[in-house]
Assembly symmetry: C2
Homo-oligomer: 306 residues x 2
């Protein structure tokens, strides 16, 4: 199974699309890369830095003749973009997306996919807090997981081709049911992001603690929350609005648990706290052993060069 | 004002004490370093790796003749250790501690400080998720802040000497009221830690999401929470039990805000979410500009070497 596509169209030219472009070139996985972004400034920047070979003036123009089209736009506009490009997709082409939510994206995009075009939704579980056409880099997907959530009846050859492409970009590839994907990601991503945004907002609000105090003494834990809470606002608004049920369910579980720990603090129940904090240590070890994070203290920040 | 002490005793030999030892030697700030830890295994390891010049068999023996004694033990045992060493402190010596909570430590330690000994509480706002005698390193305090919270009437020369010592270790030094310290740290450290512990506990609990799924897809945000939730359980149990009021107050504010955002998700109020997420981006910028975190995406993890 080849991992290569002769012509790939990237709709949306931010962190995820940019990293696909860099990694596809690194792996010699693409003939011609064409890109489109709604913002004229983004298109101009992408052309200036040579992010893609051709910058198209419209999404419809970008997808013509493309063998692989990847929607790299916020989840909330996937349906509108699919409606726009649907009539222009080449028969036999693969249409994919990189949305962090899968069920609502499938519901919004699938009706616009013409017969003979293979829709294979995907989600690369990787990212940074940066955004825009200059934020991508070739190694973003190395060793990370990309989840494919093909609807029932999807052409297996198309799924295999896209999987080979993602492996060529450096990722491990797995398949998952869309609804299960949305629950798993609510746990590992969506709820943590909302919690981080909330904590940073609270700190910013507190009148008795000055802004500069929050910043100066952030090395005690808070600064890690601010990295997550610096992620793209539009992308995250759309994630929460489109994975409402699972996110609210996990947040409900979170609040219940937080109240139990608050109660332990209030009543001075040190044993409960100690047991809880001991248990959570183990999961960190698993993440490091799975190669999903560095073992260096503080993620390696502030360490002397070896 | 000299930054140097002829004889320093470190009571407790974990991450914070070990980093003091390495940084004090780097800066030539100490004649002889003596150390004591309650655990025999820790004492043996500290002797084996030469963390200090002398390992004492008891805390009382360790502090004899020391010009500076630093209590580097969990906040919950500061009072007991102070009671044990009080009678053996050298007249004119400075007694300090590194507790993450200040008011209860002052209340617990001050009664055991003999006349002629200067008690200057301190808190280096730095750390990692690692612990134990081998986890310390010389650069931990470089560019971070150490807060001194001397009770009223503390000898100014002693405060200045300790401040010079911390600056010699690499830290910026500031003074603060103990109660205000405890509120600031509840925001920048204690509440974020409890929230991270809670989220990791929830993920670990969820039966429909397997342990391995949580680990494999952690790069989407969750892994950063697990680093914080891998911190020393005893230290953190004591922090929460000793900064109960401020922590519960901040957690109350946090829950209120979280409920408001949950409501925005439930009602589909995208404007509120977008505005909130935009505001929290600014505080990250402040932290980077203040030199308290790296600007590299993902803290530099997964980037190719330059």
């Amino acid at each position: 199974m080849t991992a290569r596509f002769e012509r790939i169209a990237l709709i949306g030219l931010g962190l995820i699309a940019g990293s696909i472009a860099h990694a596809a070139r690194r792996g010699d996985l693409v003939g011609t890369l064409v890109g489109y972004a709604r913002s004229e400034a983004t298109r101009a920047k992408a052309a200036e830095i040579g992010l893609v070979d051709e910058v198209a003036a419209t999404a419809a123009e970008a997808v013509k003749e493309a063998d692989l089209v990847i929607l790299c736009v916020p989840v909330g506009v996937m349906g509108a973009v699919a409606a726009e490009i649907g009539p222009h997709l080449k028969p036999g082409a693969i249409l994919s997306d990189v949305g962090s939510v899968k069920q609502t994206v499938i519901d919004a995009v699938a009706p616009h996919v013409p017969d003979g075009v293979h829709f294979v939704p995907s989600h690369p579980v990787a990212g940074t807090e940066h955004s825009g056409p200059e934020s991508g880099f070739a190694t973003l997907y190395d060793g990370r997981f990309t989840l494919l959530t093909p609807p029932e009846g999807t052409d297996q050859a198309a799924v295999d081709h896209l999987a080979a492409f993602w492996r060529g970009l450096g990722a491990n590839v797995e398949e998952m049911e869309p609804a299960h994907h949305d629950l798993v990601l609510a746990v590992t991503s969506h709820a943590p992001h909302l919690i981080a945004y909330t904590m940073v907002g609270v700190a910013d609000d507190l009148r008795r603690v000055t802004h500069s105090e929050v910043i100066k003494y952030s090395a005690a834990g808070f600064r890690d929350f601010t990295r997550i809470a610096a992620s793209d606002p539009t992308m995250w608004r759309d994630v929460f609005l489109n994975n409402k049920e699972a996110t609210l369910e996990i947040l409900g579980r979170f609040t219940e648990e937080l109240f139990a720990l608050q109660r332990a603090i209030r009543t001075g129940d040190g044993d409960t706290l100690h047991a809880y904090f001991t248990r959570t240590r183990a999961i960190r070890r698993g993440i490091i052993e799975a190669g999903q994070d560095t073992d260096a203290p503080n993620f390696g920040r502030g360490l002397p060069p070896k």
